[in-house]
C-alpha cells in the first residue's frame, strides 16, 4: 500500500531523514519508533505531502510523490501530534468543514460525520467548542476528522502523547479497530504502545532505519534471550553459581546483592531455543534454600530499542 524508497530530507546542513526505505501493507499497523529528533515526524510529514522530500520517492497505492500530491492527500488521512484543531469551532462544525474540504458529497456528510463520531466515541461533545473539550476528546475528534473520508491510509503522529492511561487505552483500541481494514502508520516513542498496537515496527535513529521487523520477530531476533528471575532465601552467590551454572541451557547466570532480608535475586539467561526451567527447579529443590519467586522475563521492546539506539 505504501512504499518509501530512499527518502531523504535536509534542512540546511542538517540531514533529518537519510535514505529511509520501508513498506506498509493493507491491514497492517506499522509503528515508527525512535528517540526524539530521530526523524519520525519529518518522515510522516513527507508521507502526507506536508513536506516535500529532498530526494527519494513515496508510492501510496497507485500514486506517488513527487507527482500526484493531491491524489496522495486524497487517500491519506493525517493526524499531527497534539491534534492541532481550530479551537473556536464546534466539534460538529469542524468535522463538517473537513468533510467539505475533502469533497464529501453534501448529502452524505451528516451520515459520515455520524459514523466517524460513533467510531471515535465523540457523540456527547459534538456541539461543544473544541477549546472546551479534554485532550483525549480532541485526539478523538482529530481521529474522527481523519476517518471522515474513509482514507486507505492513516498517518498518526504520536496519537497518545499527553493522554492519561484511560485515554491511551481508548485511543489504542480505536487504532486497532481501524487497523483491521486500513493501513495505519503511527509514530511513537512510547515503546509499550508499539508493542501493544503494532504488527510491525520500524525503528528510526538519527534519520536512518535501525530495524524493520514484525514486532514479535524483532523481539525474538534481538531479544531471543529469555531471562528467568529467581528469588532465594538462605542462598549465597557462590552456592547458586555452583548449583545452577552447570545446568545445560544456562548461558549466563548473575546474582544481585542480597536485599535487607537476606534474599538473593538471581537472573538466569537461557541459550537460544533452550528451556532449562525444570532442571533448575529440581536442583533448587535439592538444596535447603527457600524459593520465593520464579518467573520468566522476556526482553521488552524497550530494551531492544535501547540496544539499537544506544549512542556511540
Amino acid at each position: 500500500m505504501i512504499q518509501v524508497e530512499r527518502l531523504t530530507k535536509t534542512f540546511g546542513a542538517v540531514r533529518a531523514v537519510d535514505g529511509v526505505s520501508f513498506e506498509a501493507r493493507r491491514g497492517e499497523i506499522l509503528g515508527l519508533l525512535g528517540p526524539n529528533g530521530a526523524g519520525k515526524t519529518t518522515t510522516l510529514r513527507m508521507l502526507t505531502g506536508y513536506l516535500a522530500p529532498t530526494s527519494g520517492r513515496i508510492r501510496v497505492g497507485d500514486y506517488s510523490t513527487p507527482g500526484d500530491p493531491l491524489e496522495v492527500k486524497r487517500i491519506t488521512g493525517y493526524l499531527p501530534e497534539s491534534a492541532p484543531l481550530y479551537p473556536e469551532m464546534l466539534v460538529f462544525d469542524y468535522l463538517a468543514f473537513i468533510a467539505a474540504a475533502r469533497a464529501i458529497p453534501a448529502a452524505d456528510r451528516r451520515r459520515r460525520i455520524g459514523d466517524a463520531a460513533e467510531l471515535c466515541g465523540i457523540r456527547e461533545v459534538m456541539h461543544q467548542p473544541i477549546a472546551e473539550i479534554s485532550k483525549g476528546y480532541k485526539q478523538r475528534v482529530g481521529l474522527a476528522a481523519v476517518m471522515l473520508a474513509d482514507p486507505e491510509i492513516l498517518v498518526l503522529d504520536e496519537p497518545t502523547s499527553g493522554l492519561d492511561p484511560n485515554q491511551i487505552a481508548e485511543i489504542r483500541e480505536i487504532i486497532r479497530r481501524i487497523g483491521r481494514a486500513k493501513t495505519v502508520i503511527f509514530s511513537t516513542h512510547i515503546l509499550s504502545e508499539a508493542e501493544a498496537t503494532c504488527d510491525r515496527v520500524v525503528i528510526i535513529h538519527r534519520g536512518r532505519i535501525a530495524a524493520d521487523r514484525p514486532t514479535a520477530e524483532l523481539k525474538e531476533a534481538l531479544g531471543g534471550k529469555i531471562r528467568l528471575a529467581i528469588l532465594l532465601e538462605g542462598a549465597d552467590a557462590d552456592g547458586v553459581e555452583r548449583t545452577l551454572a552447570p545446568v545445560a541451557g544456562v548461558e549466563e547466570l548473575s546474582c544481585g546483592p542480597p536485599d535487607e532480608a537476606g534474599r538473593l535475586p538471581v537472573a538466569v539467561v537461557f541459550a537460544a531455543g533452550a528451556d532449562p526451567r525444570a532442571e533448575i527447579y529440581r536442583r533448587i529443590r535439592g538444596t535447603d534454600w527457600t524459593l520465593l519467586d520464579f518467573h520468566l522475563q522476556r526482553q521488552s521492546l524497550e530494551e531492544v530499542f535501547r540496544e539499537l539506539t544506544r549512542e556511540g
Binding site: R45, A52, L70, K73, P84, Y86, M89, F97, A103
Partner: protein
C-alpha cells in the same frame, strides 16, 4: 473554487465567532467617525472627501490586523499541518483566505454607508464620488488584505505579520511623498506605485482602468508571492 469557498466560509465563521472582529469594527468606526465628523461641520460641505482621504492610512493599520492571524496562527498552532495535507490546492487555500479577509473589509465598510445617508440628508451630495469612493475602498482593502496575507505567510508570529503587513501597506501609501526627495526620473515611476494616489483617483468618481488595474495587480502579486512562500516552506 469549491475548496476556496469552503476555506473562506470557515475563515468568515472564525472571524465572526470571535469578539476581536467586533472590537476591530468598533475601533475602526470610532476612529474614522471621529476624524471625519470633527472637520465635517467646519468645512460645511456635503461631501465624503474627508472620510475617503484618511482611508488609505487607516486601512494600512486595520487591514493587516485583520489578516495577521491567517497563516501565522496556523503555523503557530500547527493546524496548518492539517490544512495543508487536505486534498486542496495551495492556490485555493490562499484565495479562500483572501476572500474571507475581503469580506471582512466589506463588513468594516458596511456601517459607514450611514455616513452618505446622513450627509445627503444635510445637503446636496454628489453620488459619483461616493460610489467611486466605496469601490476604491473595496479595491484598496482587498489589495492590502493580499499584502497582509503575504506578511502572515512569512512568520509564526502574528505581531511580526502585523508589523510587516503595516510597513508594506503604509509604505505604499507614502511612496509618492517619499519620491519628492528623489530625482524626477526616479520619482515619476515610483509615484505610480502609490496606493493612495490611485485610490484618490477612483474616489473622485473617475473610475480609470489604470487605477483598477493597479489594485488588481498589487493583489495578484501579493497572493502569488504568498503561494510561492508557502510552496517554498511546504511544497
Amino acid at each position: 473554487m469549491r475548496a476556496a469557498w469552503t476555506v473562506c466560509r470557515r475563515e468568515c465563521s472564525a472571524y465572526f465567532a470571535s469578539p476581536i472582529a467586533y472590537i476591530v469594527i468598533v475601533i475602526f468606526l470610532l476612529v474614522v467617525g471621529w476624524f471625519f465628523f470633527s472637520t465635517f461641520f467646519l468645512l460645511n460641505q456635503a461631501s465624503l472627501r474627508g472620510f475617503f482621504r484618511m482611508l488609505p492610512v487607516v486601512f494600512a493599520f486595520v487591514v493587516p490586523a485583520v489578516t495577521m492571524r491567517q497563516f501565522a496562527e496556523e503555523f503557530h498552532s500547527g493546524s496548518c499541518e492539517i490544512l495543508l495535507t487536505l486534498p486542496v490546492r495551495l492556490t485555493e487555500i490562499v484565495f479562500g483566505k483572501f476572500l474571507a479577509c475581503t469580506i471582512f473589509v466589506a463588513a468594516l465598510l458596511a456601517p459607514t454607508l450611514a455616513y452618505p445617508l446622513l450627509v445627503a440628508s444635510l445637503g446636496d451630495l454628489d453620488p459619483g464620488p461616493v460610489i467611486g469612493g466605496y469601490l476604491g475602498a473595496l479595491l484598496l482593502g482587498a489589495a492590502f488584505a493580499a499584502v497582509g496575507l503575504f506578511a502572515s505567510a512569512l512568520t509564526k508570529s502574528q505581531i511580526v505579520a502585523f508589523l510587516t503587513g503595516s510597513a508594506i501597506s503604509f509604505g505604499l501609501c507614502l511612496v509618492d511623498q517619499m519620491a519628492y526627495f528623489l530625482p524626477e526620473a526616479a520619482a515619476r515611476p515610483l509615484a505610480h506605485l502609490a496606493a493612495d494616489v490611485h485610490f484618490e483617483n477612483i474616489a473622485r468618481g473617475l473610475v480609470d482602468t489604470r487605477d483598477v488595474l493597479y489594485f488588481l495587480s498589487l493583489g495578484f502579486l501579493a497572493l502569488y508571492a504568498t503561494v510561492l512562500v508557502l510552496e517554498e516552506k511546504h511544497g
